[in-house]
Symmetry: C2
Subunit: 229 residues, 2 copies
Amino acid sequence: MPTAILANMESREHRSSSAGRPAFQAARSSGEIADSTPVSVREHELVFAEGDAAHQRYEIIDGAVMLFRVLPDGRRQLVELLGPGDMFGLTCDAEYDCSAETLVATRMRVTHRLDCSQVPASMCRMCRQLQKKVADLHEHSVVLGRKSAMEKVVSFLLRLAAMETGRRANGHVRLAMTRQEMADYLGLTIETVSRSLSELRRRGLIIFEKADWFHIPDPQALENLSGDF
Amino acid sequence: MPTAILANMESREHRSSSAGRPAFQAARSSGEIADSTPVSVREHELVFAEGDAAHQRYEIIDGAVMLFRVLPDGRRQLVELLGPGDMFGLTCDAEYDCSAETLVATRMRVTHRLDCSQVPASMCRMCRQLQKKVADLHEHSVVLGRKSAMEKVVSFLLRLAAMETGRRANGHVRLAMTRQEMADYLGLTIETVSRSLSELRRRGLIIFEKADWFHIPDPQALENLSGDF
DNA sequence: CGAAAAGTTGATGGCTTTCAAGTCGTGTGG
DNA sequence: CCACACGACTTGAAAGCCATCAACTTTTCG
C-alpha cells in the first residue's frame, strides 16, 4: 500500500517534494511516452513506491537515484545508491520491493519488463536467483540498519522458520547455527543474541526441545516483535 | 589473499573445521569430478574463500551454506544464508567477493561459469547489473553490520568519491544528499552523521568548499579510518 | 528581509558491547 | 561407566558508543 508508505514518510519528516504521483508517471500510463524514451525527473521526486506494480524497468542516463524501504513505524533504510549506467526496478515479483526517489534531477530510460520466455533457461534461472538475492539483501539491510537487537533476532527466527519449510518436523525448526554465526549475521555479539533468545524463551515465545530445535507456539506474537508490523 | 582471511577467522575464533582447502576441491582441480556432478561437503567446511578465482558456480541440492566477508581486523559479517535450490558464486568478477562455508552437511551441483556470449545482449547486461548490485549489497551489509559510526561515514564518503568519477571537477565531490538521507543509508541518526563530518572537517581529512561540495586532500589518511585496511 | 528547513552542537540516557564468571553439553580416556 | 576437558552457551556488572532531547546557527527560498 504505497499511500501508507508515503504517509509514514511524511510523518517522519523525510524531505520529499513528491506528495503524489510524479507528472511523468501520469503521462506514461496515458500512453504519451513510448518505450525507451528518455525521461527527465526533477530532484527529490518519487519514481515508484514499494508495492507498486512492477511494470517498468529503469536505466539512469545521468543523475542519481536512491532505493529505500520504510518500516511501518517510519524507520527508513536506503538500500541502494545509483548513478549513471545503473538500472533499477529489476524485480522478478509483480511488485517493487522498495521505493525509488531521485536524489538530483535525473534522466533515465524506461522500458517494459523483459519476459524470460525467449532466453536460455539456465540464464533465466540465474537471473531469478540474482533478483531473489537482491530482494533478500534489501530486506537484510533494513534488519542491519534499522532494527533493535531483539527485532533482529526475532526477524532471523521468523526467516528461518519460513525458509525451513519441508525440513522441519511438525512445526519444529532446526537452528543449525552457532551463536557466533547468528551474531555475525545480525551485526550483534554472541552475548546479545544469547540474551535475546533467553528472553524470548522466558516469555514463552519460542520453545526449545533440544539445543538446536525450537518451535514457535504463537507466530503472530513473535511477528509483533519483529518491527515489520 | 584467502590465506590471510582464514588466518583472521582463526584469530577471532570463528568455528571452522576447514583449516585448509576442503578435500573435494583438490579432487575437482585434478579433474576427477565432472561438471554438474553432485558434490557432498561436510558441516562447517569452506567451499571457497573471498579472493579465490571464481571458476565455479554452485547450486545447493540440500543443506545450507553461509556467505560471509571478513574485515582486516577480523570482524565478520554473514551476507547470505542459503538453502536448497539457492545458487551462489554468481559473480561477474574474476574473484569471489566473499567466502562460502557450509552450515550443515550439504550436497551441491558444481558447474563452470557460463559465459555471456550466446545470450541476448539485453539479458546479459541485466545479469551484470544484478551481479554488481549483489556485490554492492554485500559490501553495504558489512558497513551496516560491523562498522562504527565514523567508519560508516568515511566508507560512504570514499564510495561517493569513487562513484562520482567524471562528475567531479578537479577532485571535488558533490554531496548531493541531506544528512537524513546519509543517516538512513548508514543506519545512523542525522546528529551522529553531522558530528562525524564535523570531526573529519576539524581534523582536515575533508574540506568543504560549499555546503555540498568537498574534497579529500589525503585519500589514504581517510581510508585508514574506513575499517577496510 | 524573514520564515522555514537543514544542519550543528551540547547534555543526558539507554541499548549494546565488553569483560568476567559462571553453567551446560558433548566427546574422550581412564 | 564415569571423570574430565573443552567448547558452546549463559548470565551478571560495568563501560562506551550512539540515540535522544533540546537549543542554537546556518542556509535556502519566497
